[in-house]
């Protein structure tokens, strides 16, 4: 991807980006059609690094999606550059600072992974539901509820050894978020309450509930600050190295990504979930129990959100307080979108947005571009990715006609 960017930037000098996009998509079109490829065109394809790589590695349908995905992210960064320019910054300097700040050295890389960890969890939360045809906007609330239960368990039972206490605490986080998601699934199945609205509403219910807890029943004695008692050492996610905040939560996240893959690929219930998501009627006709599947999926999706919260509390914050998540739940949607709900994609998506977050400080310091610009870029990524997805479904043919015309006239 970086190679691709470099390459494109180089070519930007003598070629408009639109023409590059034209060519890439046209080449892919030729590939997908699978026939009538001229030798010369084949040669042309081979000279293009990304086209070549994708074409060699993936079947046509996947290649399409991937290419459009990459183009979408690239376009978002391009428009982001225009925004930076508009607010008086230097896009080159800003992106360089961003890159150095997030990837420049080992420490920066580790900080990026720290930021990526909760995003991977919330990305999984969205993706689990999405695979079963549900839209879970509630990861934010699930995160808080997971954080709550993890805190409850993690700040007590200090007599347990870490090897037992930590897993139990993590499990508590999973269950806290999971139950919060389960209610959503139950309301949908039992009362036909569309999960989009209920998840949106439940986010705020959870946020106010936490606010109540840390100012009331769970407040740390003597009650000076609105926060909970600290997590005991036996429930803290250990860090890997001195001087970096990277902790075992990242490994847990990777494990969860693996389990996500395993669930949908290997388990019968995973297959059932995908059938329910793909065609609810067919699932009923095949004798599945879609209601149960949906409740289970919302439990797991909620659980992933809950783990994000537990991870933040046990790995970074060490205690529960109001607003400990800067919107990780919503960012997870972007992560899953960019990652196309695939295991590997979610990791990449998490790292992409984690890098934006961790490099943002450097960008503000060196390039004098406010860190809030990161959010603009992030929203642009979402916008371009959803627009790009629609290209693959709906307007592909129209688009191709345009590209073909443009290419024909060259």
């Amino acid at each position: 991807m970086i190679y691709y960017k470099k390459n494109c930037k180089k070519r930007l000098t003598n070629d408009s980006s639109a023409t590059i996009m034209n060519k890439q998509i046209y080449m892919l079109y030729v590939h997908v059609r699978g026939k009538g490829i001229l030798e010369a065109e084949m040669e042309n394809i081979k000279q293009k690094p990304v086209g070549l790589l994708i074409l060699r590695l993936f079947p046509p349908e996947t290649a399409w999606k991937l290419l459009i995905q990459i183009l979408s992210v690239f376009s978002a960064l391009l428009v982001g550059a225009v925004v930076i320019k508009l607010i008086g910054g230097s896009p080159g300097a800003a992106y360089r600072a961003l890159l150095v700040g997030s990837m420049g050295n080992l420490k920066a890389v580790m900080e990026t992974l720290v930021k990526a960890t909760p995003l991977i969890f919330t990305g999984l939360s969205f993706a689990y539901a999405a695979k079963a045809g549900l839209i879970n906007i509630g990861a934010e609330g699930q995160l808080y509820m997971g954080g709550f239960l993890a805190t409850l368990v993690g700040s007590s039972f200090g007599w347990m050894p870490l090897i037992i206490h930590l897993p139990i605490t993590l499990l508590a986080g999973f269950i806290g978020g999971g139950l919060w998601g389960l209610i959503i699934g139950w309301l949908k199945v039992k009362f036909g309450a569309n999960e989009i609205i209920t998840t949106v509403m439940f986010n705020y219910v959870a946020i106010y509930f936490i606010s109540y807890l840390v100012t009331g029943p769970m407040i740390e004695p003597p009650g000076t600050y609105p926060q909970s008692r600290p997590i005991t050492d036996t429930a803290i996610l250990p860090r890997f190295f001195q001087g970096s905040r990277l902790h075992w939560g990242f490994i847990v996240a990777l494990l969860c990504v693996f389990l996500f893959w395993f669930f949908f690929r290997k388990l019968k219930v995973g297959y059932e979930s995908r059938v329910v998501g793909s065609n609810f009627e067919a699932a009923k006709y095949a004798g599945m129990k879609p209601a149960k599947v949906m409740i289970l999926i919302m439990f797991i999706a909620g659980g992933m959100g809950g783990l994000a919260g537990a991870n933040e509390i046990l790995g970074i914050q060490g205690k529960l307080f109001q607003g400990f998540s800067p919107g990780y739940g919503f960012d997870g949607i972007a992560v899953a979108l960019v990652g196309m709900n695939s295991p590997f994609g979610i990791i990449l998506g998490g790292i992409l947005f984690g890098a934006l977050r961790s490099g943002g400080n450097m960008m503000q310091m060196i390039a004098k571009v406010p860190i809030s610009t990161i959010y603009i870029i992030q929203s642009l990524v979402i916008i371009f990715v959803i627009a790009g997805q629609m290209i693959t479904l709906e307007n592909r043919r129209k688009l191709l006609a345009i590209f073909r015309r443009n290419n024909g006239s060259e």
Binding site: P59, E61, R265, K266, L267, K268, Y271, E272, R274, V275, S278, N279, E281, A282, K284, Y285, A286, G287, M288, R397
Partner: protein, 507 residues
Amino acid sequence: MSINILEMKNITKTFPGGVIANKNINLKLRKGEVHTLLGENGAGKSTIMNILSGLYSPDSGNILINEKPVSLNSPKDAIKYGIGMVYQHFQLIPELSVVENVILGIKQRREPFLDIKGSADRILEYSNKYNMGIDPCAMVWQLSVGQQQWVEIIKALYRGARILVLDEPTAVLIPQEIDQLFNMIRQFTAADFSVIFISHKINEVKEISDRITILRKGQKVNTVETSEVSKPELAEMMVGREVLFKAYKKKAVPGVPALVLDKIEADNSKGLQALKIVSLAVKKGEILGIAGVDGNGQSELVEVIMGLRKSTSGSVKVMDKDVTNAHPREILDCSVGHIPEDRRVSGLMLEMNLRENLILHDYHTVPHSKFLLNWKFIKEHAEKLIEDYDIRTPNSDVLAGKLSGGNQQKLILARELHGNPDILVAMHATRGLDVGAIEYVHKNIIAQRDAGAAILYVSTEIDELLNISDRIAVIHSGEIMGIVNPDNVTIKELGLMMAGSKKDTLL
């Protein structure tokens, strides 16, 4: 000589993907005539209609109204030129009242305010004139299907339509309502309105039209005066010679009853009774056809058998095992195959690949899975099925939605038949397929019969049922009118039964 109020010249429409829906269609509609477009499913009737309504624009060709060329780019244009459409799938909004539906999109006398009262009066006028019995203030969801059809017609007339296009209007009507409709049509033409009547039912076409244009595979076969053509001639033009094919079929050797329904009753989704004391027994080695006009309880019947709908009384037995209101999985596990009503709605997961579609019933059984899914076996098995059932696809990675209709149906056949089920329940198994695919489906289903399966075959096509069934049960308003032998029943008798006459009363 009356003038041509509408003329379509050399209309061609190709869909993305290269499907030619209409090729060089020429059509002349005279003032005051009923002109039928006759053709099978997929002959291109709906495309013509969508072109006339402004939803599609043709790739080439001209449309003339009152001998002046016009371009129809949106439904608004069609309305402007006096073309009124009555779609097969009603375009009414159930949550709105009759008046609101009728005046939707029409400029009002006191713009921007709705003239509910005045419009209601006008609607009542139409309703009385054509004897429709419509209450303008009723909500559309409260109306019967027949009444909704009348509202559609009022809607078209209200918009000043001089040309009425009726798309398969009789499919949802009971015989009395069909008579009522035909009376209306006669009133229209007497008032110099023109009617385009779209249908594939030769009897009614012969009854109502002045001229008939026959379409086949997107092309016009001929335009004829109704009085100068016989029904068999029409049939021949409509289906073409090659399909006067009779499924080759040995005499059935019925065995023991395998699927037994005893006095089944059930409600439809609106809570109205849909099945009334239905008793049927399908024997091993026979095909029992279920004939009837769409919406007479066929869907509910199949759903009750498959455990998808609760019966309110009676029992269902599969090979002597009582499965009344059992869970669908339990019924499927009794060696029951099911070709569902609509393959795209309930048969296939269009966004999943062929392998994943093929294991829909077997995924939870060894060797497809023990604890975990065995994709290696699943893939090999899928590839074998793809070959056995001649599904045209590069490989099993392809998404089911990318297959043609015929191949999608083969996919379902492969899934439902490969285990040689004892019982097969098939509904509209050939709907929307081309001739070759229909033949393929019939052949496979007959092969299952010969292998000893008991088959319940629901269809609305009488010819098909006469062709494939060993016995035919006719259903009307959720009641079995009688069971007949296809070899000694006339189409007329079947038609009467489908219209609600009991078999006993015919003799």
